[in-house]
Every structure is written in C-alpha cells, then in structure tokens.
C-alpha cells in the first residue's frame, strides 16, 4: 500500500483531518482549528470578551473626574439603587447595584480585570515554567533535582493557601512604584505559583526531545548546550507553553474571583467578578438576583469558552494526546 493510499484511507475513515505533507506544526494546527466549529465558536466568544475588556479599559482611560464622561465611582446615584434589569436603557440592561451603578458596566469592567489577571499572571508563569522545565529536562542531574525539589515543594502546599498567604504578605508593600496589595500583587502571586504545571509538562517533553537525532546532530557540529536548548529544544516544546497558557488563564480567572471574594484580590472599590459575587451574595435572599447572576454568568461563559478552546488547541498542537 502506498503512502497516499494510507493517507486516503485514514482521512476517509476517521474524522480527524490528516496533515498535508510539508505543513508545519503551526500551520497544521491552524488548519485543524479553523475546521473545528466548536473551537471557532469559542474563539469568537473569547474575542468578544477581549473586545469588552478593551472597551472597559478605553472607558476607564477616557473617563475623567468632573469631566464629560463620569468615572465609575461618579455614577453612584442612590435614587437608582437596586433597579431590576430592564430593556429601557443600556445602563439598566442588567439592573443596578446598591449604589445605583450599572451592573452592565460593572460586569464589563470585571471582564477587563479577569482577562488582565489571566494574561499577566500567565506571562509570568508560562515563561518561568518553560525555562525551568526545559533546563530541568535538558541538563538533568543536579539542575533537574533542584527544580523538581522546588516544584514538589510548591505543590505540597495547597494552592489557595499559598495565594492567600502571599497576598497577606504583599499587603502595604510597594515594589517599583506598584502597590502589591492590589491587582499587581495578584499577578505576581498567581505567576509564581502557577508555573508548576507547565514546568512538569515541559520537563517530561524535553527529556524525550533531548534524545532525538537532531539534538545529537547539533551537538556533533559543536553547538553549545545553551544554544541547543534555545535554538533546537525550546522551539520544539513551545507549543506546550501555548497550551499551558490557554488553560492557565482559566485557573488565573478562577483564582482571582476566589481571592477577591475573600477580600484579598483586587483593590477595594475596583469592580471585579469576585467582588461582585462577594457583594451580592447576601442580596439573593432579598430577591435581588441580577448582580450575582451577571457576574456568575459572565464568568461561566468565559471559562467555558476558554476550557473548550484550550482543549481543542491542545488536540491540534499535541497530536499524541488525541482521543484522551
């Protein structure tokens, strides 16, 4: 049987599209994802949230105290408090909170916080995990032992406790002009705790990659360890970083909501889904359901889209994990 016949047979028999000859990993993954309706739908939802977040950021940038556009704090109007959702105006579409502020605006600003936290914490965690995992897997021996020791230690302490303790330690701490008691501390705390998963994943893969012929060939022509690691090994495990990133955002968003709910997340007064849930949970008994429902619903949809997209991305980028 020729190669073409096998390819033909598999593509006819299975639902999985087969890579065209010559397509790179990235091009292949892009093609797989583009054909995946679910992945595209979820990507659309994520893009929608990103637009919302950008809109929220733009609003915050444009709104000036005592200027044309009122800031979020200036929209307080106690005559308007606890209005149920109505189609009368955009402001009241999702109702108003105890201070008469628009829940819709609050939810949009919360999306901004959630996505920023997801992005920033993973910008710390994923490169850290990639670097440490690659170093551990490639160099082995002592380097490996130290890094494995480091992450087993981190993994032995429940993550939420680590985060709570760190946020407490960061209280009233300023670093490079940033107040670590608030959202900046959140980026760092999440960043330095969330690298463990990526590191494990990358380390295991690099241990396999370093035995491959092209690494041997690179060594044979006299490339140094660092160059082999940076030019030959890392690019071949970079897709694991992308996968970790997409799934790590979910973890960061959940952690932000939990910490803000406990009063340890963002600064006091900053609208986020966690503070919305914390503030609105007692109002459910009074029949004021909309603020809680908005925060929970917004978070649910985003996490769902990110989870499904992350899974599909992993399937597309790491074909060996398929059907698992």
């Amino acid at each position: 049987m020729t190669m073409d016949a096998i390819q033909h047979q598999t593509s006819a028999g299975g639902a999985e599209p087969v890579a065209q000859r010559g397509a790179s990993l990235w091009a292949d993954a892009r093609r797989r994802l583009a054909r995946d309706r679910w992945a595209m739908l979820c990507l659309g939802i994520i893009a929608f949230y990103v637009l919302l977040a950008l809109g929220g950021a733009m609003y915050e940038a444009l709104a000036a105290p005592e200027g044309g556009i009122p800031t979020f704090e200036e929209t307080i109007n106690f005559d308007q408090s606890y209005r149920p959702p109505s189609l009368d105006s955009l402001r009241n579409l999702l109702g108003t909170d105890w201070a008469g502020r628009s829940v819709l605006l609050k939810t949009v600003l919360g999306a901004k916080v959630s996505l920023t936290v997801g992005l920033m914490s993973n910008l710390i965690a994923v490169p850290l995990g990639l670097m440490l995992g690659a170093a551990a897997g490639y160099f082995g021996r002592r380097t490996d032992a130290v890094i494995v020791w480091l992450y087993s230690t981190m993994a032995s302490v429940p993550g939420i406790v680590l985060l709570i303790a760190m946020k407490y330690a960061f209280k009233n701490v300023t670093f490079l002009g940033l107040n670590l008691g608030g959202i900046h501390g959140l980026y760092i705390a999440l960043g330095v705790t969330a690298w463990v998963g990526t590191c494990r994943y990358v380390r295991a893969e690099v241990m396999k990659v370093r035995e491959l012929e092209y690494v041997l060939a690179a060594r044979a022509v006299g490339r140094g360890n660092v160059m082999i690691l940076l030019r030959h090994v890392l690019p071949n495990v970079l897709h694991l970083g992308i996968i970790s990133f997409s799934l790590g955002v979910v973890g960061a968003i959940t952690a932000e909501v939990t910490l803000s709910y406990l009063g340890l997340g963002v600064e006091v007064g900053m609208p986020s889904w966690g503070t919305m849930i914390d503030g609105a949970r007692m109002e459910l008994h009074a029949g004021r359901w909309w603020e809680l429902a908005s925060a929970v619903g917004a978070m649910f949809l985003l996490v769902l889209a990110l989870n499904i997209f992350g899974d599909r991305l992993r399937d597309a980028l790491d074909p060996r994990l398929k059907n698992v």
Partner: protein, 441 residues
C-alpha cells in the same frame, strides 16, 4: 527495592524541608509586623519589643552570631529577677531595652536580657530609649533610672541619666555603690549551640514537633486545635470524597461504555459545563435554595443534620464534572490496550471486560487521585467551611491567616504538606509494589 524506598524517603524529607523553608519565608520573613497585628498597630514600640522578645520574633533570622546584654542576679533566692523603668513619666512607657527573661536555655537562672540581639555588640554600642506611641515615635536619650528587683526581694535603683553606650550602663550597674556584687551586667559570649537559637531553627523545631501555640487565643495549642476542629472537617470531607468517587466512577464507566455515541457526548458536555460553573456559585445558590425550600436552618451552622448534607451535596455536585472527565480519560486510556482487544476476541461480553479487566487496571491512577485528595480531606474545603459556618480546620486556617496567628497557620499548612508528601510516598510505594516495571527502573 530497599534502595528505592530509601531514595523515596530521602526525597520526601527534602520536600518537607522545602515546605518549612517556604512557610518560613511566607509567614515569618515576609509577614511584616506580627507584633503590630497582634497587639494593634498603635501599640507602643516598647510594648511591641517586649512582646517580640517573649515569642522569639526578635531573634536573628538564620544564624545567631549576635550578642546581647545580660543582667544576672547573684544573690540567690527564689524570686524572679525583674527590671522596671521607674524614672520616666507615663508618657514614656519605658525602656524597650528592658525585656523579659530570655528564652534560651543556655543562660544562667535569674537573668534578664537588656538589649536586643545585636551583631557585634560591645561596650561602645550606643543605647537609647524607644519613645512611646506608635511606630513613628523617635528614639530618645535615657533619663530617670531603672529599678531592678533581685532574687531575694531587695531592689537596686540604677540612675541612667547621660548613659550613652552599653559600656556606660554596665559601669553604672557593676560599679553601683550599693551593688556589692549582687547584680552583674555582662555581654554574652558566642557559643556553637547558641548559633542555632535563631528564628529559622526555631521555626524548624516548632514545625516538626507541631508545637505552636495561638498568639491570639492564649492557651490554645496547635495540637488541641487540630484535635478539636479536625473532626468537623473529616465529617464533611469523608462522605463528600467517598460519594464523589463512587458516583464519578459509575458515571465515567457509563459514558466510557457508550464511547463516541450520544450518552458519551452528552455526558462529556455536561461534565465540561459543570466544571465551568464557579464553585462560589454552587455554594451561594445552594444556600439560597435552602431558604427557598423553607429550610433556613440547614443553610449554615452545625446543629441540624442538613448542615452536613447541604455542604456534602454541594461539594459532590460541584466536583462531579471534573471527576467524570478525569476517570473517563483513564478508562479510555485502558480500553485502547491490547489485553482489551484480546478479551474482545475471546468473545467476552463488554460488561465483563469493562468492569472486571479495565476497572482493575484503572485502579492505580484512581487510587492515586484519591490518596492525593487526603490533605484536602483534613484541611477541608476552606471556602465551604468558611461559607457554611462549619468550624473545621479550613475555616480555622482562614481565621488564623486573617489574625496573622503565625504558629497556627504555619502548623496547619505544614500538616497539610506532611500528609500530602506522605500520600505521594505511599502512592509511589504502591506503584512499586503493584507495577514491577517501576521497580526495575
């Protein structure tokens, strides 16, 4: 095998040590002003210094190569030596230098410590009285006198006006006209054993022996807290984990049986949906449902049976999605193997293959996940206990972190880490026993 076990044990010990370093960095080094958190931010600096000394928070961090000034009563007698700043007005609440009896064992009896731990302390080290008031109070020159109460009940008043250095103070005490060798002031000498009298080594010792005592509620030791609150956590967590495992397993086998067909697709989709609902929402809506059903007594507390059922039900429902998906993955991993094809070829019915052969082979990873859930079993779910007013260890952990109750939070975190590490060790040994391939590596 023995070498493998020894290697694993050493690795576990290293991890435990790592956890102690981590908790030391988190709860001590970066914890900020614990004295201020316990006594109140506005407490006088002198009072805070005394407190810090009493609980050992003024010790050097790593290695104690620091000296201090000791005052030793030489007259015998059974009364404890005390020192009081009498000269100052109430506005100056006293000398921060005057501290309690030192905690170290290598001091002679009837001793008080008059200075903090200072590196390179000698007779030329300058001294000052700390001002009263908040942390911003300025240091002042000593005035008035210090009154010492000796072991036999007599007192000695030492004027300290114009004292600038440690040497001056020692001169005033040792050369006092009425002293006659009753009271000796001297600078401590360094010793090897004393080098380990530091915060880090003390932290290691209290952690390993589970020795801590609450800073906020005096008399509550860590052990009594674990004994008292642990049972609430276990009462909620054991049924929750057992039911999660049981229902999750059954559902996972069900969807794996229908692999690729609609029950599987619906099952997986529902699992993903369940995984994406925030845990907080499950709790809040679950509690609201109790109010809605007219059962408000079941919404929080520990009096009624429902107070147990509701949190357990919520934990089971909230985690079911993740469990089903995880178990399904493991089961499907197994069903692709050769022995399953062989069994099929032999003509065994699918139920026998699934429940007898596949399930047996899935047990190891599933047991692993169960063992790794043990620490959370004891620590409980922090959020659930906090939300439903269950006084378990998780709830206690949150309160102790809020209170900056360092010995308690450190002890509870350490307990979790120890149990987790022990669980991993146990799992690895189980793997080695049941899977000969690992043993041979």
């Amino acid at each position: 095998m023995l070498i493998y076990i020894i290697r694993r044990l050493m690795w576990a010990a290293l991890t435990i040590f790592g956890v102690m370093v981590l908790t030391f960095l988190l709860f001590r080094v970066s914890a900020g002003d614990i004295a201020g958190a316990v006594l109140g931010e506005k407490a006088a600096e002198a009072q805070k210094a005394t407190w810090r000394h009493k609980f050992g928070y003024d010790l050097p961090w790593l290695i104690n190569v620091h000296r201090n000034l000791l005052i030793i009563s030489k007259v015998g007698g059974d009364k404890p030596l005390w020192a009081k700043d009498t000269g100052s007005s109430r506005a100056r609440q006293g000398w921060s230098l005057v501290l309690d009896a030192p905690p170290g064992e290598n001091y002679p009896p009837n001793t008080v410590l008059m200075s903090g731990y200072i590196r390179g302390l000698d007779e030329s080290t300058s001294i000052h009285a700390l001002g009263s008031g908040g942390p911003s109070a300025t240091n002042e020159d000593p005035t008035g006198s210090i009154s010492f109460g000796l072991g036999d009940g007599s007192t000695l008043d030492v004027p300290v006006d114009g004292v600038k250095t440690i040497g001056d103070l020692m001169q005033r005490i040792n050369g006092h006209a009425a002293n006659n060798g009753r009271l000796e002031a001297r600078i401590t000498s360094l010793s090897v054993a004393g080098a380990f009298n530091s915060q880090f080594f003390r932290h290691l010792k209290t952690s390993l022996l589970f020795e801590g005592e609450s800073l906020k509620h005096s008399g509550q030791s860590l052990k009594s807290i674990i004994a008292k609150h642990g049972k609430y956590s276990l009462a909620v967590q054991i049924p929750a984990v057992a039911i999660q495992w049981f229902i999750g397993m059954i559902l996972a086998l069900f969807v794996a049986y229908y692999r690729g067909r609609w029950p599987d697709k619906i099952g997986v989709f529902m699992s993903v949906l369940g995984m994406c609902v925030p845990f907080l929402a499950f709790m809040i809506y679950g509690q609201a449902l109790m109010f809605h059903l007219g059962l408000p007594q079941h919404a929080a507390g520990t009096i009624y049976r429902g107070n147990l059922y509701v949190p357990v039900a919520i934990m089971v429902i909230a985690s079911l999605g993740g469990h089903v998906r995880f178990y399904r993955t493991i089961i499907l991993d197994e069903t692709g193997r050769d022995y399953v094809r062989t069994a099929q070829a032999k003509g065994l019915p699918l139920t026998t293959i699934l429940f007898k052969h596949v399930l047996k082979n899935c047990m190891l990873p599933i047991l692993t996940s169960l063992i790794l859930a043990i620490p959370f079993l004891i620590m409980g779910s922090l959020l659930v206990e906090n939300f439903f007013g269950i006084p378990g260890l998780g709830d206690r952990m949150i309160t102790s972190i809020n209170d900056r109750d360092e010995p308690i939070m450190n002890g509870l975190v350490f307990l979790t880490a120890v149990i987790y590490t022990a669980g991993i060790l146990l799992t690895d040994l189980c793997y080695a026993v049941f899977d000969p391939r690992i043993r041979l590596k």
